[in-house]
């Protein structure tokens, strides 16, 4: 695969948490690529570093996380560079407080990447949403931060559009002639209306007639003339005007617009009565609805990569099915890549294109889904698959022993203390990653020519 196809490129990433009881080696040389438009499943048991990996890509690490080596390129931007440089500078005297300063600078540098190019969905929908903010605001906030111009354009377009405009647009829609519609919108200078039109037109749960009525009613929504220059400024520059009172008024108008857009988007995600939902607080929603809100927040700016950190683990089976359905639809409709982190192998089989198996802070096996599941190479993957219970019962086998203590990680291959095929070399040297065909890679001495073949 050629290089420009990957959105994330991770090379030899080594990350440790500095704690009062010692250095916890969370990631020990991770190599991984996420291609544009693919779903990469990342599997592993607790403590294997899969969540840390997701957080590293987002630059959302805690202050005691030291990047000892490696790079994480997100669309050409090396996220961990300042942290790595700080670690090198500190020369063994790593100070979390100093690292925190570096992280604060990183937050600033990444402001235009997070929520725009890359976004993240966390495991617990209850704790991911701010309990004291209406959910609509939490969605709208992303737009207010990054896409003020879209909101302003939407608002201005609604003020400018006449009923005749909307009828014309409907005509194009009925004829499925999107190009002409866009031309018309451009010629009438109604940019921003298409966003709203399409939000209704693509809804599946509405009758065509209802869609048409709603689209027709998008016109003639007059805007306070005092605000007009402020809104035009925002639409032009993607910034709020700086004059103090005007700024507040424009912001207020755009927050309202943000709620509107949030409701439209939730509607697209199949949320019943989205106009009511946006005004509610998280505790008034069920787990499934909350996770929909979180997904909407992550997706509303059309990011190129979405990191899903166990998005369904806290949900019931039937609700999990709803969310998976939703993600499947989103995958078809957008061009985004997904990094789907989960401990549930069967789930990853359902959603991923490629799978990466992690153990003790390393990717031990990665490759196309079918290849990894049907012909697992690494002993850990093989044993893990045997431990998964299925509807058709088979003999279960657990993996003996405990996950290694990453404060004192074993030498050589991390898995050797639990591995039935362990050889002398496994205790000595870390295995290299070898390609066993068609992008299926495995880090194990069994395949690296270190001992007799299996």
């Amino acid at each position: 695969m050629s290089k420009e196809e990957s959105i994330v490129k991770i090379r030899d990433l080594r990350l440790s948490y500095y704690t009062r009881r010692g250095v916890y080696h969370a990631l020990n040389g991770v190599d991984l690529d996420i291609m544009r438009g693919e779903v990469l499943g990342v599997a592993g048991e607790s403590g294997c570093g899969k969540s840390t990996l997701g957080l590293t890509i987002m630059g959302l690490l805690p202050r005691n996380a030291a990047i000892e080596n490696g790079e994480v390129m997100v669309d050409g931007f090396d996220v961990v560079r300042p942290l790595r440089e700080y670690f090198r500078r500190s020369k063994g005297k790593f100070k979390p407080t100093k690292n925190d300063d570096v992280l604060k600078k990183l937050h600033k540098a990444m402001m235009n990447i997070r929520g725009v190019k890359v976004s993240m969905v966390f495991q617990e929908p209850m704790t991911t949403l701010n309990p004291v903010m209406p959910v609509g605001y939490q969605i709208a906030e992303v737009l207010l931060q990054h896409n003020v111009s879209l909101l302003a354009k939407r608002r201005l377009a609604r003020a400018k559009a006449t009923r005749e405009d909307m009828k014309a647009i409907l005509g194009y829609l009925r004829g499925n002639d999107m190009a002409s519609m866009m031309d018309y919108i451009k010629s009438r200078r109604l940019e921003g209306i298409e966003d709203q039109v399409m939000a209704y037109w693509r809804r599946r749960d509405l009758h065509d007639l209802v869609k048409e009525i709603r689209i027709l009613s998008l016109c003639c929504d007059a805007v306070n003339p005092m605000l007009r220059p402020g809104l035009s400024y925002a639409a032009r520059t993607n910034r709020l005007p700086s004059a103090p009172v005007l700024r507040q008024l424009v912001r207020h108008e755009l927050v309202k617009e943000g709620y509107r857009k949030a409701a439209e988007y939730l509607g697209l995600l199949g949320m019943p009565e989205p106009e009511k939902v946006v005004k509610m607080y998280p505790h008034e929603l069920s787990g499934g609805m909350r996770q929909r809100v979180v997904i909407a927040t992550a997706m509303i700016n059309n990011p190129e990569l979405v990191i899903l950190d166990e998005p369904t683990s806290a949900l019931d089976v039937t609700i999990q099915a709803q969310i998976l359905d939703l993600l499947k639809d989103l995958k078809q409709e957008t061009k985004a890549a997904y990094m789907f982190i989960s401990h549930d192998l069967s789930l990853l089989y359902q959603v991923s294109d490629r799978i990466a198996i992690m153990y003790a802070g390393k990717v031990v096996e990665v490759g196309p889904k079918d290849s990894v599941f049907k012909e697992p190479k690494h002993p850990y993957t093989q044993m893990l698959l045997e431990a998964v219970p299925t509807l058709e019962p088979h003999e279960l086998k657990g993996i003996r022993g405990e996950v290694p203590d990453l404060r004192n990680p074993p030498k050589g291959c991390m898995f050797h203390p639990r591995c039935p095929f362990a050889m002398p070399i496994c205790r000595e040297k870390e295995p290299p990653t070898v390609d066993v065909g068609s992008g299926h890679k495995v880090a194990c001495w069994l395949y690296a020519g270190g001992g007799e073949k299996k």
């Binding site: 607790s46 099915a321 998976l324 359905d325 599941f373 219970p389 509807l391 279960l396």
Partner: protein, 422 residues
């Protein structure tokens, strides 16, 4: 029968609201035979954990009875008596086997015969007690052994759950999650009980550890021939563990039967959806995606509690006028926009509606056309003109009974009742 729950109800009062109850378990009967593993499956809020606690009397039921160690013949008599409403007989058998009136030393004897293992291995072990003391507690408290003997036996039990003996004098926080759960199991089986409730014992653990624990539990069952109630939300785990399966939803029992029957040919639409939603390696899913959420248990839906989400619901499933009027309103908004604003729907009592702004015929057409997509409309059985408005009346809801659908296999769905009746 080692344990038999009969018509168990557990209503928890809602704090601050008089007369409001969370109906966590509502009229559930369950049987566990000697030495068998019964799987109890349900989503969160289905009442499965509450039921488990009722069976070992960690909770006292609002109504119903739990009979312990009752010979099958007497249980049959008891059931007959219940059906005949023969109170004297019921009372007589109940006084012999019920666990609800046990007190003092007899209660302790019962405690010796049952055990329980909880979900969270972190909060279920007292952090200030050593592992040996934790395991010894049930033996000492039920008077099985004196302290010294109990500690001795605790070490043996550690070996039995495949932990080293010298763990006995460690403290819970020094152990990993899987090791703690083994300790919890050792405590659960310490008194050699005949019946153990396992309340999601592996859902906080990793798959590799889960597999080991499940294998261990099966071994223990073989060795001691104890009956187990295995509570979980994970159907694959139940399918590995259980001999028979019970499926609960919103406080009700929807289906039970032998494992292979329930997994391979589930009869209740909920069980079918649940099983279809289980992801598996090597099998592309064909899920039945249920709409909506688990119902609120303070005011659960009438009739069958599953009906608002049911993909095959029919007229008598329990629709009330509120649900139907909401469905009509939503339908008008979604599909018949030309009527919106003109039409008004008002519930009139639980089973009647008053619709204005539309003729009876028109409404009939709409209902006929849409009843497949909007199940609530199926409940409408008559639409009559009444002067200035249209009277709509609904079919009376029927509470589904558990109907036998195979040997030892029953499901509570009125669709099945119909077939059986004809």
């Amino acid at each position: 029968m080692i344990i038999a729950g009969r018509h168990l109800k557990e209503y928890f009062p809602v704090k601050g609201v008089r007369g409001a109850y969370v109906r966590a378990v509502d009229d559930v009967s369950i049987d566990v035979h000697e030495g068998e593993i019964v799987g109890l499956v349900g989503e969160s809020g289905s009442g499965k954990s509450t039921l488990g606690r009722l069976l070992v009397r960690l909770l006292d039921p609002t109504a119903g009875d739990v009979l312990f160690n009752i010979p099958d013949s007497e249980l049959r008599e008891y059931d007959d008596a219940l059906e005949r409403n023969d109170k004297q007989m019921v009372k007589k058998i109940s006084s012999k086997y019920s666990i609800l009136r046990l007190k003092g030393s007899r209660l302790k004897m019962f405690r010796r015969e049952v055990g329980i293992v909880f979900q969270d291995p972190y909060s279920s072990l007292d952090p200030r007690m050593s592992i040996a003391d934790i395991i010894a507690e049930p033996m000492i408290e039920t008077g099985l052994y004196k302290r010294a003997e109990a500690l001795e036996r605790a070490e043996e039990l550690l070996e039995e759950v495949q932990l080293p003996r010298d763990f006995a004098y460690r403290y819970p926080h020094e152990l990993s999650g899987g090791q703690r759960q083994r300790v919890a199991i050792a405590r659960g089986i310490a008194t050699n009980p005949k019946f153990v409730v396992l309340d999601e014992p592996t859902s906080a653990l990793d798959v590799s550890v889960q597999a080991e624990i499940l294998v261990l539990l099966r071994e223990l069952r073989e060795k001691h021939n104890m009956a187990m109630l295995f509570i979980t939300h994970n159907i694959s785990v139940v399918s590995y563990m259980a001999d028979r399966i019970y499926v609960m939803y919103a406080g009700k029992l929807l289906e039970y039967g032998p494992k292979t029957q329930v997994i391979r040919s589930p009869r209740h639409p909920y069980t079918q959806a649940l099983i279809s939603a289980v992801p598996e390696v090597g099998r592309e899913m064909r899920r039945v995606v249920l709409k909506g959420d688990v119902p609120n248990l303070v005011m659960p839906p009438a009739g069958c509690r599953f009906h608002p989400r049911c993909p095959v619901a029919v007229a008598e499933c329990g629709w009330d006028s509120g649900e139907v009027s909401e469905a009509i309103n939503r339908l008008i908004e979604a599909r018949y926009a030309e009527l919106s604003g003109k039409l008004s729907v008002k519930p009139k009592g639980p089973l009647a509606l008053e619709v204005r702004g539309i003729s009876a015929q028109q409404l009939k057409q709409i209902v006929d056309a849409e009843s497949e997509s909007t199940k609530a409309l199926k409940a409408i059985y008559s639409i009559k003109d009444a002067g200035d408005h249209v009277e709509v009346s609904l079919a009376a809801p029927r509470e589904p009974r558990l109907v036998p659908v195979g040997p030892g296999h029953a499901a509570a769905c009125i669709l099945l009742e119909g077939k059986e009746g004809k």
